[in-house]
Symmetry: D2
Subunit: 497 residues, 4 copies
């Protein structure tokens, strides 16, 4: 309501004092909004739902599809057939950007465009807060990390048309590999660098990386593609050293920081890498770091023009979809809320770690010592069944049917071929890890209740196994639970990354 409308309201209510009190209430909302628009930063304290919805309503009525007097004679007019759909998108129906240029402003959608600018600005603010203080530019894309990495590689190709090798310290996640392979027929060639075992940890083989670069010729290397967040016992890359090598050899460096925003260690590695060496872009998943639905990523970097080049590669204009969720979420959390989530995650990591350690000892297993991995933990499964990996797999099924989600069992000696490339010891990031193990992670949003339930159910399963083994029996309940546990089926849940 503007000034005239307040005037009209006063006359209707016949009580100026109360109306003025109301107007003052409204003013406070306007001021909040103004601070947001002027600073483009995530507010310190989260907004209530009411303020957020009002804001989204205000943005929506600035889009042409919501103009009271609009008439549309094009083929893309933001018309919506279902009221349910209109409402769930707050009537923000037009995308932002133009067909073929995501970074342009969409003339039909000032509100949606503003929303998108704000989101990128706020996310940048949060990346700084989370530890990469010198990041200068970022943008949200409605694709997961895999596709986002591909976008980066394609952009680099324009700059280094002759380079075709991507140096890639091994990380056993299909989508990471596929991000290079999707484009492989077109000329990229991933060069896998095996990790080295240090204690229990699998770490970057820096010497092998450098040797391979020299071997291939730096000018033929498109980029180094490194990883921070990963399943233990693999640990985040030796990022500083990689970044220094990239700087020395003048090779681009793309970091897959999939769920690393939630960890100050991962973010610190990126900050340090950029400070002492070279990092061109780092990519993170929206859902894993900001607790929004699956399907978005943030591409960020230290050079505005490179980040903008990447954004120009993206041919569509549906970006706002992911932006909307992340904007709502960050406004409702505020910086303080996000900081609190980071803190709780860290505490939960310690708790999970200590509890899992205790349980492991009871069953003659041990927690792998992986101090460099700040998120994921691994417990050995050496004594579960000495003679068969089947048992390890069964443990996974049992946990699944007991509604434990996200736990991952890694048997020995699995082998998998992805796009003609065969990985020995697949899932364990190395050809021959010494033992089978079980992964659990403390990710953002995890509750103490999750940990407790997990440990209770895990213990029950372990106990069952011990009992059964001592009787020389199979574990029968699996058959009742998952009748069709073919090998393929079992694979399914194991790879549920």
């Amino acid at each position: 309501m503007n000034v005239e409308n307040f005037g009209a309201s006063e006359r209707l209510l016949v009580n100026a004092a109360y109306m003025r009190q109301g107007a003052q209430g409204r003013r406070a909302h306007e001021l909040r909004l103004r601070a947001l628009l002027e600073q483009g930063k995530c507010p310190e304290d989260g907004w209530d739902e009411s303020t957020i919805e009002l804001f989204l309503h205000e943005l929506a009525i600035m889009d042409s599809n919501n103009f009271l007097g609009n008439c549309g004679v094009g083929e893309r007019e933001g018309r919506v057939a279902s009221g349910l759909v209109a409402r769930r998108h707050y009537r923000l129906i037009h995308g932002i950007g133009r067909s073929g240029d995501i970074s342009a402003v969409q003339p039909k959608a000032a509100g949606s465009s503003l929303l998108n600018k704000l989101t990128n600005s706020i996310v940048l603010d949060i990346l700084k807060l989370a530890g990469v203080r010198t990041v200068t530019s970022c943008f949200v894309v409605p694709m997961a990390t895999g596709m986002s990495l591909t976008l980066c590689f394609l952009t680099l190709r324009h700059k280094r048309p002759k380079a075709k090798y991507i140096i890639w310290p091994r990380i056993d996640q299909k989508s990471c590999f596929k991000s290079m392979i999707t484009a492989a027929g077109l000329g990229f060639e991933p060069v896998v660098i095996e990790n080295v075992l240090e204690g229990d940890e699998l770490r970057t083989d820096i010497k092998a990386v450098e040797a391979k670069i020299q071997d291939l010729g730096a000018e033929n290397v498109l980029c180094v593609h490194s990883t921070t967040s990963c399943f233990a016992p693999r640990v985040p890359e030796r990022l500083e050293e990689l970044a220094v090598i990239c700087a020395n050899y003048d090779i681009p460096h793309i970091v897959n920081n999939a769920y690393g925003v939630q960890s100050s260690k991962c973010m610190h590695l990126i900050q340090q890498g950029a400070r002492v060496g070279r990092i061109d872009a780092f990519i993170q998943s929206l859902d894993k770091n900001f607790m929004v639905p699956v399907g978005g990523a943030v591409i960020a970097g230290f050079d505005d023009s490179f980040i903008q080049d990447i954004s120009k590669m993206y041919p569509d204009n549906s970006v706002y979809r992911s932006s909307l969720d992340v904007l709502i979420t960050l406004l409702s959390l505020g910086e303080s809320g996000y900081r609190q989530l980071l803190k709780e995650r860290k505490e939960m990591f310690s708790y999970l770690s200590s509890q899992l350690k205790k349980l492991a000892e009871v069953y003659n297993e041990r927690l792998l010592v992986t101090p460099h991995n700040p998120i994921s933990l691994a417990m050995t499964l050496e004594n579960l069944d000495k003679h068969s990996d089947m048992t390890v797999t069964q443990l996974g099924s049992m946990l699944f049917t007991r509604q434990v989600s996200g736990a991952r069992v890694v048997p020995l000696g699995a082998s998998q071929t992805v796009n003609n490339y065969t990985f020995k010891g697949f899932m364990s990031h190395t050809n021959n890890y010494p033992c089978a193990y079980l992964n659990a992670a403390s990710a953002i949003g995890m509750k103490k209740q999750d940990v407790d339930l997990f440990l209770k159910r895990l213990e029950k399963c372990m106990k069952n196994f011990r009992k059964e083994k001592s009787c020389g029996k199979d574990v029968p309940e699996i058959d009742n639970c998952i009748k069709d546990t073919s090998v393929g089926e079992t694979e399914d849940y194991k790879l549920q990354s």
Copy 2:
């Protein structure tokens, strides 16, 4: 509520007859749902919002993030920080598919996976209803048509590793060209076939296509990339003849059917092409054909295994986002509702056509004769100002500030360079179209009120111009409306496809 719960309710209500009446009411909903699940077809009559929401609620509680007893110890657990976000996605937070394999079922999300399967099944049903009766397979992707086309080309590359040419009858839309260019540095080479002028229409130069194939060698051609829906005076491709050539030379054929589902003519062309010749896949935008928010497409074809190959190229799992909107929309419309929309669109096309013709005659212009284009119309702007294209551009600005969206003015002789390729006469699909013109389209969901408002405002603008010209004056109001109408600014709205 299941049987036991009805029993308990009866005891509480102390009136079995009324409760039974209530149970019968519920049963009707269950039967609806059953028909949907068993047949996998769009219901004939649309569902009310209540049934749709109940169904989505039911799906959501089958996803692990909504299990009452779930505990999550992974890094991707469908956790959501904001209630607003959870609600607007009906708590369907997990994607479907697995990281790296969209066609796999997501173990954590039976409900979301079911939703996705159903959506593809219903969309297939609607594609048949709309005219492509023999289509056998399709899937929804959360990307617009441009990126979807790229996905098809990448898939073909795996099958024809040495082929690099894409035969492309010219269509002046940036995203179409970019769909090939994004990957261009990697080896694709678009081969532009200029259109021929027949009367007012710009049509496919079939002979030139065939000659170019012979010239390049069929084995070097990745595919023919043709287009159905387009701005007049260009008209849909001579699709049957193209399909026959593709069959004869054994060349894949990808059809950009962007907003063609809404036109029985476009769909008929595809059906005929597939019958007499070769079409490998046809791609259509979700928003333009199904009245949902921007950002999704359907990839469809006649060979299940090829369509599945394309789906495997897609590395992410956020598909359900687009599925959800299109599922809600189609369930709420029903087949009859969608048929009705198609019928109304056709009627509105006739109405727009006849009204625009009348208006054109009053101002000494004429409606271009483009009988092969079933959606878009063009009116000449020859007499607006004989001496300057500036005026044509101003007309565009005036319409924009008068809240006419989607109208497009095409001046003479514009030239544009897209990724190093220069198009003369850009926007007009040919180097030298005889005159400037204005486009308007009758797209699905257009109302008579849109047409009437458009014509009224257009007439007012035309009148203004005539008046101003007779006084030898500039048109002053533009300056008031858009003060910063630099050339770049003006470009903006013109290209708003």
Copy 3:
């Protein structure tokens, strides 16, 4: 967003022209709102949901419970425990009015108070549109008509402390009678005036009313309590003549116009009554006339101070609940939408009437001739079963189990005692109506589909009866449908007014 915020937005978007377009879009919403606030009338054209919700949001942030800086130290602070509840009330949690004075403004809730004022103003406008052009004052209460009538009688009591008789032309609806009886132990005494049979119609016995007034002494009569909308074959009161009598004898006159707003005839009667005689207040149900949920009424009249006196009798402050629904509804319909509903209702009445007539004739029954009743119709059930009312009752049950709601069968000779007063021939408004019959009504919002389904199902039931009778059998299916059709049960559905 205010001016400063638009400025900040422009800077963020780096495109003043588009932002200005957006601001213009917003301005249109503001102007709508302003017209509403200044004129206090229902807009001619309905508002879309987006505008309505934005408006409600704006009102809500003017209530103290939504002040960002509010601190509450009272016992009633508009705190809400559940987000679901907050949202469904648009965060309008405080009532309006003060404890003990509904017409006062609630200092904690400027927004809610404004909402209430506006609603009363708009409803007044609609009452005029519907036919009572000279109505001057009205207010919405969160009680149904029965309780609202009681409120009127209590107010009159203060003015006529010695009068205890309420003259009441008989109408067989429990809540009407109860509106006087609730307070009966306290001194009111309803005086029932039996109706006279004219043709098929039951009409007001004007002479009996006047005779009774003379008999009791006008000064002892609290008021005449008359009725417009009613089930055929009773017809609306001879309201003009009653009003003249009231004027002549200086007796207050309260009209129960339950669902009469939807009929121009009922409204015309009130308008005429007020013009030529005396009407103090007329009461109408919100749900039956404005298609909102059950539980509200409008008390209206021609003398501001009397209507205000009534409002002061109402001790609570929860009014806004009913106001909110009726405000949303009328804003979304607009005057034109409401007018359209009235027109459709009239057409549907003709249709129902003609179709029911045809069906009656097929089964040797007839439609009662009740031209003065503009809403309700009655079809005789004379030949259904000559010997038993049981059959009539069974017909009712059969219709109920076939999901026909609102049809009412009236058997001969039912008798009912309400608060010690025994009505012979209860439900038929007279002691001995010549025949049993079935009622159906054409009320606002009825669709052609309702009529068609009703007639189809009714015909099926009638056919069944004829068949069964010819075999000398009972109608068995009832037993299957409602096993416990005790008399009480059967009563249930019959009295479902």
Copy 4:
């Protein structure tokens, strides 16, 4: 989804194991619901929004207005014109009960009726939890406490037709008095018993009550109307002693327990009163005790048939409106959540008490010693301005404009006439309280932040006054804030109970 639908889903998903996992997820929801329906008790742990909404959806489809095949031919068919309205009521449009009998089941609305039964059952459970362990019956009404009290008095009148006196220990709240006065013209006569001052507390004058009963004759007394929750320095009635007197003299006893459910002390008084003496019904506000919007009450008692008699006096059927909010709220809180709220309220009371005490001492005021009042506190305003009550009033205005809501200043010697009855010292519950004071309360849902903000703002105001006084100036800012602070205006905020 029922069993057949799960079967169909399995076939569609081609993965029985995942689907079974989904079905198991659903089953958990069904079990929750079953426990609720079978036990009719508030669940120990609160339900999430998803479960609640699913439950409401399920109830809604059992109401005839949501039957897919329903046809309505009555005048009240639950039709709704606005989708916004339908949704905010979860499509529960029909009321419960029948016109004229709220305790009957509404045949058209099995779902709504079930909802209502459940609500009453759950609220009863919570009343027990809160301390009245032997309560046997209660029901929710969509009216505030005032109107609910009137309903009780009217019911008693039927049982004691000759009794007209209501014995009422004075409590200065308009709606309490009005609950007797609304019906006063009809024969009730409130007999005000002045309170006695004990220390700072105002307590029931038991002897005066008994004397008055003897004086009037027990048979002429309709009932004793007592109060628990109230503003300090008045304290809850000596309820046990009153109940004993009522038992001895065979006089009904109605307790106004307005916001007493939140205090174990108030509830304990009722429990004890019922144990040792007589309490017929006790009435509590929904909004003040259960944190729902204004406008509902619970009428409860120890004799089913009396409570049912009261329910039969209520002529309307809109009950579900209040039921819906309270049901949602209690399901979302669960017993544990409600218990937690009670606990926090108590803690906040101690905190407010100690902080206010400190502040009082700084300004030479003191916290009144009112140990019997568990909710409300009072701080003297003796030194604010020795010579004028104006200052006290100004303090109120200042707090109001500073967004402190619910604080109440009580000046000396105010006098007010309500319905011809003049109260000296109005607002202070006695003719001559020794000093002016300020009230603040710790009510359910209050946060520490409320207390802190309140004290900060209060301190600022106090400081201002001290400063101004020492300069001999008026407090100028008031004039800026509320220009029209006429006496009437000022009254407004003071009485904002």
